[in-house]
Each structure stands twice: as C-alpha cells, then as structure tokens.
Symmetry: C2
Amino acid sequence: MTDKKRKFWGWGSVGEGFSDADMRPYEAEYAGIFGVDGFTVDPFPRSEEIDLAAPRLAVPKSLEAVLSADHWERLVHTFGRAFHEQVRIMARDFRNAPDLVAFPRHEQDVIDVLDWCTRVKAAAIPFGGGSSVVGGVHPDVGEGYAGAVSIDLRRMNKVLEVDHTSRAARIQAGTYGPELEDQLRPHKLTFRHYPQSFQYSTLGGWLATRSGGHFATLYTHIDDLVESMRVVTPAGVHDSFRLPGSGAGPSPDRMFLGSEGALGIITEAWVRLQDRPTFRANRTVEFKDYFAGARAVRAISQAGLYPANIRLLNHDEVKYSGTASGEAAILVLGFEGADHPLEPWMARALECCSDHGGVVSAEGDEGAGDPRAGAAGRWRNAFIMGGYLREAMVARGLITETFETAITWDKFEAFYPAMIETVANATRAATGRAGIVSCRFTHVYPDGPAPYFTFRGLGTRGRLSEQYDIIKNAAADLLIDWRATITHHHAVGRDHRPWYDRQRSPVFAKALTAAKRALDPAGILNPGVLLDPAR
Amino acid sequence: MTDKKRKFWGWGSVGEGFSDADMRPYEAEYAGIFGVDGFTVDPFPRSEEIDLAAPRLAVPKSLEAVLSADHWERLVHTFGRAFHEQVRIMARDFRNAPDLVAFPRHEQDVIDVLDWCTRVKAAAIPFGGGSSVVGGVHPDVGEGYAGAVSIDLRRMNKVLEVDHTSRAARIQAGTYGPELEDQLRPHKLTFRHYPQSFQYSTLGGWLATRSGGHFATLYTHIDDLVESMRVVTPAGVHDSFRLPGSGAGPSPDRMFLGSEGALGIITEAWVRLQDRPTFRANRTVEFKDYFAGARAVRAISQAGLYPANIRLLNHDEVKYSGTASGEAAILVLGFEGADHPLEPWMARALECCSDHGGVVSAEGDEGAGDPRAGAAGRWRNAFIMGGYLREAMVARGLITETFETAITWDKFEAFYPAMIETVANATRAATGRAGIVSCRFTHVYPDGPAPYFTFRGLGTRGRLSEQYDIIKNAAADLLIDWRATITHHHAVGRDHRPWYDRQRSPVFAKALTAAKRALDPAGILNPGVLLDPAR
C-alpha cells in the first residue's frame, strides 16, 4: 500500500479527487440535464467533527502490535464506497465504526486475531481496499457481538514467489493492484486484472468477491486465474494444492471464491499471470442501432476469437461518459497478446461488425495500437476517474449509481428496454423529474452479455437514500424477475442480500449455512454478509 | 439409451467387444513384451452362474413402476469399470449387488425414491452410464444401511429445450453421449463433450464427476460448460439461475460439480453448445526429444491460440497404442471452429513446434482436414476401442490401468521421469518382471499439463488385485508427494479416497461434511464416496 493517507469520506487518498474547478464542467452538464441553475456543495466531514464511541473492546497485550484504536483508521474502516454509505458519510453518521482495526503482519497474526475475536465474541470484518460498493465491509453487525474489528490486510502486500515457467506467482492477499503489478514488472509478467477499483483494491478483496477484471471475454472473473489459496478460518487454515486443473471432488477454491469474508480470511494465493502484451489491435466501431451492435458482439463472442476488450456502449453511455456525441452506439474492440500479430483476429471481428452494420471509426484507426487514444482513450479516462466522481456528486445532491448483471442472449433484447424503462420510471417517481440511465457491456460470453447500467438523478437533500432505494430496488426486483444475476462482479455484501436470497436456492443456502457453522462456529466472520448473523 | 442390453461383465452392450480372433494381434504383442508363449483365457461369467442374495428391501406399492429386482439389472449395477471391479467380476464376486435398481421416469420419481430411501435407511447410489473407473457406483456401503438401491437415470434422456440464440440446451441428466448428440444434430449444434466413455456415459455422470472432454485447452472440464443445474437432495430440489456468468456468492453449481452423488442427484442442466465445426486444421508433429515436445506444447498453451487438440504422446505411448513405431514422440495438434479458416492459428502453433525441433509428419499433412486420417486417426481408433480392451486383458491375466493428474510446468520435467520410474519399479516388484508404462497429455493449460499414464504388466491369477494395488498405490503416493492432483478427470470414487483425503484440506473436509449433513441428514447418498458413510 502507498504511504498516502486514505480518505475516510471518499475514494482514494487525501489530496486526490475532483476540485471545485474540476467539477465545473460536470455541474454545467448536470444543470442542463436536470433543468436547474447550479448546485450547492455540502462540505466533506473533517475527522475532528466526528465523535466516535470509545471502543467496546480492550486491546489484549499479545495483540498490541496488531490492533489499533486510532480515530482516523476507525473512520476509514467504517464504510466502503456504496451510495448509501456516501450519504451517511455526508451526514457524519459513523455509529457503526469498528471498535478496533487490525493490521496483521503475517498469517499468524490473522490466526491470532480470529482466535481472540472468537474468544471475546467480536465480529471480524475482513477489509481489503475498502472499495466495496455493496456494503461488504461496513461493520453493521447487530446486537449479538461484543464489538467489531475491521481486519485490514494492507501490511501483507508482497509477491512471495514467481514461477516464470508456469507463469504464476504466490501473492499475499493484502497486495493492492498497483503494487502487485510493480512487483511483477521486473519479471516481465503481469496479472492484468484491472477492475475499476484497481488502484484501491487488493488481491484478497478481488478473490473474496469474484472480481471481474480486464479481460472482457474468456478469463473474465478472477476465479479462472486461481491455482490455489490459503484461507484462515476459526476452524483452521485451508490450503489447496497448486494445480493447473483438477477433478478431485467439488473445487475447494470455488467455495472460498465469492465467500466475501463470511467463511474465512484469504491470506495468499497462487495466481496465473500473463506475459506483458507486445501485440495490440484496437478499433472503435459505430452502430446506429444498438441491437445491431449487440448482435455483432454476440457473433464475435461465439466465433472463438476471444478479444481482450469488447465493450459496447449504448448511445447514452457514449454521450454521458464524454466518449463521443452519442449519435451512435460505440463498440470498443481490442485484441492483445505477447505471441503473435493479431490482425487476422481483428479482421474477422470487424467482418462480424460490418455484417451487422458497424462502421469502423476513422479516429479509432489512428489509435489502433494504443488503447489510450481516440474515443476508447476518452472512455478509459472516464473509467479511471469514475471512483472520484461519486463523492463529488453526492455532495451536490445528485443520485448516481451503477449496477450490473449477466443474462443469456435469448432474453437480452426484451430485458434491456424493460430495464431502461424501469429505471427511468423509478427515477421519475423517486425524484419528481427525469434522470438518465445508460448501459454498456463490461464482459461478454458466448451465451450472453454482462450489461452494466449507470443511472443518475437529481435528489433531494435529506431524502437521498430513500430516493435511491426506490430506483435501486426497482432495478434489483426486475433482475430477479428475469432470473438475471443480482451481480456479475460487484458482489453481494449487505446491500444485495434480499435479492441474493431470492436468487440462491434454499437448498444451497442450507449447505452454505452448514459450511459456515463448521468453519466459524461462533459466527464472527462478516456477520450479515451472505448469511444472517449468529444469534 | 439404446435398446441394446448392457453387459454386466465389461464395457458396452451384449455382442460388443473384442473376439478371440480380434485379440490375437494383442496376444502376440504382449507375449513378446512379457516373454511368454501365449495366454489362457478365463471365461466371462454368465448371469445364471451368479447367485444373488434376495433383496433386503421390499418394493413399496407406490414405486412399483420405478424399482426393479431384476437379476440381470442387479448384476449390471454392481460394478463400474475399475480394474478391481473387473477382477471381482471374473471371480463371480457380486456380494455387493444392489438390492434394487430404480429407473425414475422424471424428477418426481427421483424425489420419491430418495424420500423412500431416507425412510427405510437404504443407501442410494446414483448411476449414469456405469463407466466409473474409480469405484464410484459400486454399492459397497457398509453395515449401516438396510440395503442399497442403484438409481439409474437412463429413462431421463431428452434434450428438453434448445436456445439457438445463446447456443445452449436444457438436457436431462440420464442422456447418453450419442443420444445427446443425435438430438442436437437437427439443430446444427453440438455439445462436443467426448470423454473416452462417450458412448456409455451420461450428462449427469459427466457433471457429477467433473468429466474432461473433447477440448484439450480452454473448455477442458465440463464445469465450464454449465449454465445451471437442477439437483434433487433429501433436503429439497436445488435449482440455479441459468446464467452466462455470475459473481453472486460462491458458485452453487461448483459445489454440485464433482460431488459424485454424495450431495444429491443431478436431474438436468442447461449447458453451453457449439456450432458444428466446418473449419479444421490438423497436423501431426514428431519430436525426437520428449521434453522438447513438452516445451513446444507449453509455448502453444501460453500463446493464446487454444487448439482443440494438443495431445503429446511419448515414445512408448506412440508405440504401444499402435500409432507409429515409437522412434519419436508425437504431437497430435488440431484446431476447429465454425467461424473462420484456422491456418493463421495453425501456422503460429507449428512455428512454436519448429522452435523446439518438431517436424511436421508428411503423413499428417495429407489428413490435414480429417482427424480420422494418418497417425492421428490410428490413435483415435485405439482411443475409442480402449473401453473394450480391459475386460479382454484381465481375462488373460494382464494388469492394465490408466491414471491421470495435472501438475504445473515448473515441476513437470522432474516429476515425469520420477513417475515413469516409480511405476516401472513397482510393476517389477509386484509381478516379478518388467511391464510397460507410457504417457500422453490429455489436456493442457497455460500453467501446466494434464499427463495421463498407462501401465501394463503380466499378473498372476488369484493375485491380480494385490499386484495392481502395489503399482497403483505407489503411483498415487507419488502424486500426492508432488502435490499433483489425485485425479484430473477420472474422479475420486471409493478407490481414490485415501489420497483425496490427503489432497483435500481438513478445513474443506469439515465444510463439505457439514454441507452433506445439511442436504442428506440420513447419509443415504453414495456412502463412502468423498465422505465416510453415516454411522
């Protein structure tokens, strides 16, 4: 982790983010969209404004080097980056701050902290980079606990071993994205797992939440990049064989992938790496008709070409992300590799596009080798800066959220307009005026896309969470009605629980509950996430 | 399922297999290898020779249409196709025959049979095609049960829905390989999952055992081809959303994939299909040096080319499979697809081969478009006939077995000679003379191969199982010592349990045991497989 001090009121570190001057173009845009003159700006909280209750837990002598009651750290570990949480930050509502924050130096510290938590009946909340947008790290653990400890793995941030032959590395779970890539760079290898949270999220967090990464096809979820894992549970340390593939019983790693801290704390993993790409082919293709673009994407996804990037932005996503004017949907298409020129791959993908009326943008051609050029580059910049935008928008009374799913192709063309309409109607009902809603594909499979929706509305101060709920709940209900997943890669956390419970079969819930009780008999691990807190 | 009557003493149906005349060339070959004059042939059992104890379970009136005490069917459902089982068949040892065989017509029958088994405390053994080579369907359930019921899903053999847009189908679990492809053919789609057992194994069996299929790279295990599953458990019917991808908690399907009948009975699944291939590129490449061949395979597997076939046969595998003389290792390399010509892919793969000293065989060129031609074709024929060979060899007192694993590339070049030597030494120790052991890759990953070993020795009648154990145990011990998986796609069954228990962490064993107790409180489901029988 960097030495920079983390913000407790928003994305990233102190000193980072949008200044008032930076926000002016956004203010002008949203003033136009919502028909208002401008925005007043609520101030972010200062740490000294916030009174925290004294910790309910006393630090035992044996863990003095690990546990902290530092005021700033308790604030930092109170919230992730969900919309609700941002509203509560602005309201200075830190009532669920963890009593203590643990910074284990090694696996034995994790074991010792969990042992102590079990003994004193403290809830243990694993914390990676704190980038959860679903309430996954918020210590709202209910009455049954003597207190709550946030367990931040940022001191465990080393690449421990690199196997060049197999292209794999053993990496500690607390390693942040940039420091992970920094340590691999001298080896000419890369993990190439770039969720939007990359700068402020960790390997352990990615694994615990089944993070979606850089590759838009094939190796989409981190699940497929795992050789083995070590996981500390109150019942012992799980350790799997490091394997390229196996058929020996149900996959143990797949039980811990997506367990969101409810079954154990991931301390390290062997993961599969890539050679650093030296060949690239990038194009931007415009489609007047969005569904024609989606059909081109389907053709490419079923052709066995496996582009690294195949992100289809609908007209509104193009417009509101500042990528282009929005007169056409845009497909950002890219191949990359370290072995061979990719023009035959790109040529065939472009044929699929032109079969469906796609036109390669001239500007895209110029930047064919450079994903930072042209419309693709502008979209990429908006993507990276997105993390900082939310806090600035909430401070201006704006509602902003993204949600994502996956659905099979046969249902997509009926589902998509239903979702756009549902969110538009709910935004109008919630806020009394029209909002905006847009869509892109983040990942694509032969049997269906992972559509990613963004909505924005002008909220009413004091009612932001309530207004947000009306929109978000309508969208989530529609997902489950369509049997689309409640999340493709954002995870379940506390916020998606009601819909996750409808998606998950009662039989699987029984099995998972039983597994949890076996590994965490005291029910201390991230209570309320995936399963109900212990009583 | 076909109308042909299944053999209870060997592979396939009555009337199929090697005749004595067919076996003559094999006898000549093995007589030469083992330095004997010839072989006497033990007769296969006839059904009327075998006395079975009367069923300990009475068929309840409500299940008369489903349960059978037919003598022949009880014999058919006593054994899978493991070496041990073949020896016991020849010894007429059917003491563990199931008391009854169930043939459910639909999911409700499966539910009713499991309910009844729970009530009367009968062990319930799911049975697909009976092709298990690891004792996965043998009703050796111990003392704690009132009897054993083999549950054969062959009546549930329909493709229920086809979604052309997403290229997927909903298929009943009892559907055999050939009838599955027959039903997809009119739709111009194919599942392309061809384990060696294809003709006599079912979708449900493939799913329950994490079967390895046709594709040597990328979509190797059936796991990656599953959209959703329905599974009947004593605690209810599990049903997952049909999704192209998801990140909502630990994958429910991944818990049932590889559960080998211990957690429930899979009744149907939505699976991902392919267009029928219209483009093919096949070549055979010879390598004087086996490790040079392996390094070429590694280069191709890390290049992002994803061949459908990349099976490297070592010198002895080439020789003893009758593929060629065995002066060189042979790489059977193939690309296939339905979208575009594959020559750029093949051209780059052949460059990787020639970088490592590989020479394209002239004969292979002739059959470039036809996987049935040349050395590749001869190997393919041996592969398909392999199922029938075992029973004929055991009848001649020969020990024959295959086992398989996966291991990372960094360890492979030290592991491989250690394994060859271990099996050779154990064969000599067990049988008093040299045997043969050979190796091929069945599947290949960027981080390692799945080597598949075949060993043969001249056994002593009456001591075949004991001799076999000496060899198999030495091989299995070595796998676990190297932290290579005890099975890549053959499954665990009853035979691999001791090594699976060493591979699986105690923490995961606790979780799986707890999940099993939650779904199957009476412990009736396939007792002894993956977990100990209930007490």
